[in-house]
Amino acid sequence: MSDLAVDIRDVQKTFDGHVAVQGLSLAVPRGSVYGLLGPNGAGKTTTIRMILNVIVPDRGTINVLGQPGGAKGVTDRIGYLPEERGLYRKMQVRRVLRFLGELKGVTRRDVDRRIDEWLARLGLTEWDQKKVDELSRGMQQKVQFIGTLLHDPELVILDEPFSGLDPINAQALNDTVVELRQRGRTVIFSTHLMDNAERLCDSVCIIAKGAKVLDGSVAAVRAEHAGRTIALATANGTSDAVERVLADRSLVDSVNREQRTLEIELATNAPVQQLLQRLVGAGAEITRFEVVQPSLHKIFLQRVGAVGVTEGMSGHG
């Protein structure tokens, strides 16, 4: 058995002359939480649809759960929560869930038991005979989420799962992702919210304009981009002398001022030691001077900002 849940190699997809995904290679380890990050229109949804075999790549290979894309039975082992969520509005909650479960190959007997468990867990038990459009938006999202996980998939793909979630549902989703990982399931989710990705993901891939910008474990990515950012705190604020040091462009590239901490971006090739010496020399009473690893958010802006955002095919990544 391959230790990769998803193995994408040099995949290309073009729609009407617009390149949605170009030369993309991804390796998603089994049992990990993997973040697919990128601005809107980066090709995230297209990539996910290719993993699901809903669309076929023009070039390249995709292996999912050890089998080539489109192999029989693979889709039954994947749970998918699309960005554009939707359920049959006129159907009863239980019937929709039964349909989604059975479509994934769960037997009639099992499906009702699992629906009961999930409804109880998310506090929807008394709503199972109601029609979907009688439910609030938040409840509909829970139902959709149950539909994604009802068949206990080995690979769970969540496309922008946090968009439109209220804080309580977002926390529930958070907890579920953590629990899925504990049970050895693989979770891929796409997002443009870096905080979520940083908190939840083991590994990430940042894509922009249909191509990979960088990928790897979150720790490795951050370590790779470390060393240029310094967190500085002083007991006596910033005197004119200190400000003059910070304004020296041969030493400091930029300063991000937060409540009590300054986030300093070192200029290229400027030694850390020199900055420290100059600050001490300027009379700063330093309480914190730390070479920090940048946040994913920062790395994202740094790397994708250069590539920019392109127009999406249909408003999807």
């Binding site: 889709t75 994947i78 998918y80 699309p82 969520r85 939707g86 359920l87 509005r89 479509l103 249909s314």
Partner: protein, 429 residues
């Protein structure tokens, strides 16, 4: 149960459980039964309205023709002849009399006026102007009365006694018709005709109603984005097939219920008609003349036709998201159906003609017109086989095209697609 089965079951059960289905299934037979029984009752009660006798008869022939017309003009439920007014005028006074009559009709004092001239006496023309000039039965009645009066006038002129004329000319022939098939005599011709007519209309309604249901179903799935989840679980072709078969099953269920209800109505028609004060008539649409074999052929041809149209409607549904767009986009396919229904009349009147043969071979119109012919006449086996083969080929093409359009269409959101773009999906997908 396979994925196809899961999809079929959802499509079938969700529709059969709907209030609309219950409503249509119960009201359908009541409506059609009501229409056919109502027709019989109405024809027997009042073919010609009382208006037909509420007219002025201007007689400028100088004979007793006007008298005879007025005496026989009785119409309506009461058959009252006293409603008509006779004006015997000279030829010179005729224009003034007509002007007065026109004025009276315009002021709603009379319904119309009839002018009898020498030309009438010669058997050529008479004139009638009235508010009911478009009421076919009224006008037929007036013409019949004038014709009989002229005939009587001539026979009296030839020296015949009026009583003798009545007894000689009273020949109310009723033509009893019976169909001949390879097996011999096969049921009342006219009742078979009406049965065929009703079958054709029912099939048309079924295809239109359930075709629209498919368009709505697919475009709703797209608009609500359910298609996203569903296509990630089952291949689009399976979804398309499941939808068509599921909806087809609903249509068949409804037809079976309707057929059983119709059989019951036909079975108990005598007491029903008696209760409504009409006698049992030969005109009630009876399926007695259709053989089991023809029945099976009818169902097969209809099913193939249904699937053909259903595939086209599903493809259309996949290209649109809103109900308004769905209406517009399905117009071309609906037009094909309307064209077919336009041929029901001609085929009904002469089901053995070349026109009838041609239109019952064309896949677009075959599912409506071939069943009509099957109910009317014994269609040669070679034609039936030809129609079925034609429909099979048409189905393969339609399903192939539909599958491709569907596959691409259900995940394309936003603006409505042009025909050229949809054709590109067919080519490249």
């Amino acid at each position: 149960m396979g994925k196809l089965g899961v999809v079929i079951r959802r499509e079938y059960l969700e529709r059969v459980r709907s209030r609309w289905f219950l409503f249509a299934t119960i009201l359908g037979p009541l409506f059609f039964g009501g229409v056919s029984i109502g027709q019989i009752v109405l024809t027997q009660h009042a073919g010609v309205s009382a208006d037909a006798s509420h007219i002025i008869v201007i007689d400028e022939t100088g004979t007793t023709l006007g008298q005879r017309v007025v005496a026989n003009l009785g119409a309506g439920v009461t058959n009252d002849t006293s409603n008509a007014m006779l004006q015997v005028v000279s030829r010179d006074d005729a224009p003034q009399a007509e002007a007065r009559a026109l004025n009276a009709v315009m002021h709603d004092k009379w319904v119309g006026y009839l002018v009898l001239t020498d030309s009438t006496l010669a058997g050529a023309t008479a004139r009638y102007n009235g508010r009911n000039a478009s009421a076919i039965q009224d006008i037929d009645h007036v013409r019949d009365v004038v014709r009989n009066a002229v005939l009587t006038e001539r026979l009296v002129g030839a020296g015949l006694d009026p009583a003798r004329i009545r007894s000689l000319t009273a020949v109310p022939i009723q033509l009893h018709t019976e169909r001949v098939t390879d097996k011999g005599l096969g049921g009342s011709g006219m009742s078979g005709a009406w049965f065929g007519y009703i079958v054709a209309i029912l099939l048309y309604i079924t295809i239109v109603v359930y075709g629209q249901s498919i368009v709505r179903g697919v475009s709703d799935e797209k608009a609500s984005r359910v298609s996203e989840v569903v296509v990630s679980s089952a291949p689009p072709d399976t979804l398309l097939a499941g939808k068509i078969l599921g909806v087809g099953g609903v249509a068949i269920t409804q037809q079976i219920i309707w057929t059983l209800a119709s059989v019951a109505i036909v079975h108990f028609r005598a007491p029903i008609l008696r209760a409504l004060g009409a006698s049992e008539s030969a005109n009630i649409p009876l399926p007695g003349s259709i053989s089991l074999g023809a029945g099976i052929e009818l169902v097969l041809i209809f099913l193939l036709g249904f699937f053909f149209y259903a595939a086209l409607f599903a493809a259309i549904g996949a290209t649109v998201e809103s109900q308004e767009d769905a209406q517009q986009a399905s117009l071309p396919v609906t037009m094909l159906l309307v064209l077919s229904i336009m041929f029901v009349g001609p085929v009904f009147l002469s089901p053995t003609s070349t026109l009838a043969r041609v239109v019952s071979w064309i896949p677009f119109s075959a599912p409506i017109l071939m069943p009509l012919r099957l109910a009317l006449i014994q269609v040669p086996l070679v034609e039936i086989v030809g129609t079925i083969l034609g429909l099979l080929v048409a189905n393969l093409v339609a399903i192939w095209v539909a599958a491709r359009v569907y596959r691409v269409g259900i995940l394309m959101y936003g603006k409505r697609r042009s025909f050229a773009e949809i054709m590109r999906w067919v080519r490249v997908s």
